[in-house]
Symmetry: C2
Subunit: 105 residues, 2 copies
């Protein structure tokens, strides 16, 4: 047993704040994470994306992205499947995500 909130918390579309989104995407690790999710497409096992950090740090970044409203995460067995919330972000900040993700640097 043990207390376990079975579903992960996500902000509603209307609750997404631009500062939180920008802050979330300003980190190189998180930006890479989102770019990979977008590249692969339909539902990625978060753990499958190679990262230069440990498991706990990965969890931290995924939570930051989720709580900012950038990605949606659902449980699938022992894995977490993540997808970019492109529909919500495009509705709320048209052009933002495309501009950021297509920024070659």
């Amino acid at each position: 047993m043990g207390t376990m909130s079975d579903d992960l918390a996500h902000p509603e579309r209307a609750e997404i704040r631009i500062e939180a989104v920008l802050h979330a995407l300003a980190d190189p690790v998180r930006l890479h994470l989102v770019r990979e999710m977008e590249r692969i497409g339909t539902g990625v096992a978060c753990g499958a994306i190679e990262l230069p950090v440990t498991k706990s740090t990965r969890t931290h970044h995924l939570r930051t992205l989720r709580e900012a409203g950038v990605i949606r995460v659902r449980k699938e067995g022992t894995s977490r499947i993540g997808t970019v919330r492109r529909d919500d972000l495009d509705a709320r900040y048209p052009g933002l995500l495309t501009a950021i993700l297509s920024a070659e640097n």
Copy 2:
């Protein structure tokens, strides 16, 4: 006299990094600063924009924006005139600035 680098340092267009821009605009004070500059238009006396912080904090935020490549600052007497680098930002990250600045929230 004293050593005084007479011109302020700005990154070239090609040197602008997306993470720095996002980080710079993720702060509420700086975002407000940039929005005001864009609203007023051609060359604003940075000190004229009302802010809930002290002078030294304002200097800090202006430096952050300048070093990220978001604004250009030139000296005019004892004042600093700031302008958003829309041309450079639009060239490098098309749609980004518009998306961020038009985000009401």
